[in-house]
Amino acid sequence: MAAAAVAESQFHVLAVDDSIIDRKLIERLLKTSSYQVTTVDSGSKALEFLGLHDDDGQSINLVITDYCMPGMTGYDLLKKIKESSSLRDIPVVIMSSENVPSRISRCLEEGAEEFFLKPVRLSDLNKLKPHLMKTKIKDQIKQQSQRQQEEESDESDFQSPSPPQQQPQESQQSQQQQQQQQQQQQQQQQQQQQQQSNNNKRKALEEGLSPERTRPRYNGIATVV
């Protein structure tokens, strides 16, 4: 269905506010602007949600949070997000009913993209698009450079010096040594690849393919005399 296809490419916003009225309002504003919305009533619940859905399809593209909340303030939440290696790239917007310049600059310095004064209006939400598009472009660039790295490392496998060629009338011992060397090299490369893939889950998917490809190649070289 066309509608389902559009929904998949929608941005998902996490809205945080302790006021039930403001949660209802921000939800309606965001939905009217065609965003997918999840609302929570506290900073700790927000972190819980972000942590739970870090890996799966429910990833959050932007967090919009009230400043004044009991327990964890919007500022505290902003800090926690920016301090987290997995969450820091998510754009954060702060809302407040109070126009306090020092508060505003503190939030912006800590990495908030925007500061909205309440009551938030539809026109304010227009300012969100560029921040969301920025992360989309960042993701695309990341994916592209990963693919390039993949291709490059595959190529260098192919060009790396093959294990020393030995005479056909080889004693069994040296043949075994040759095989061991090949295995060691394979292991080293797999370890290297493993390290890189730890940094990115997407890479791990593609990693699954490369060992399969390298093994047959080595076998190919080993049998060439």
């Binding site: 006021s19 039930i20 009225i21 403001d22 209802k24 309002l25 309606r28 504003l29 009217t32 004044c68 009913s97 309440k118 009551p119 209006r121 539809l122």
Partner: protein
């Protein structure tokens, strides 16, 4: 000063055929939440040792939600009330609690009348025009 400012108009703009009860839902939440807060404030001011920070917190919440639905007079009374909390002025607080209740019931009354009229209009087969911001 009007009882409702143009923020209420912005709320009405968010209502459409796919969300026909949006304004009523928000306003009903506001009534429930405000009456709870007014209660808490009344109880807190009745204590032997008044916790002015607590009272101020409730007033802050009421101010926020009033601003969100456009109840500007309630909003303004809350601002003044908060100063009395900060000064720990018990008489000022008691006086302004009364003001607050008056303004709150005034806006509640107006909104309920508005919804009643809208209902009558719909039952008579009419339609409610979409609100246009000037």
């Amino acid at each position: 000063m009007g009882i409702l400012d143009n923020q209420f108009g912005h709320l009405q703009q968010l209502q459409d055929e796919s969300n026909p009860d949006f304004v009523a839902e928000v306003v009903n939440l506001y009534f429930k939440d405000s009456e709870r807060l007014l209660n808490e404030i009344t109880v807190a001011l009745d204590q032997q040792n008044v916790d002015f920070t607590k009272v101020g917190g409730h007033v802050h919440q009421l101010k926020g939600s009033s601003s969100s639905i456009g109840a500007q007079r309630v909003n303004n009374v809350c601002t003044a009330f908060r100063s009395f909390c900060e000064e720990k002025n018990i008489e000022g607080c008691q006086q302004y609690l009364q003001h607050l209740k008056q303004e709150y019931y005034l806006v509640k009354n107006k909104l309920q009348t508005l919804f009643q009229l809208q209902q009558q209009l719909l039952s008579a087969g009419g339609s409610i025009p979409a609100y246009e911001m000037r």
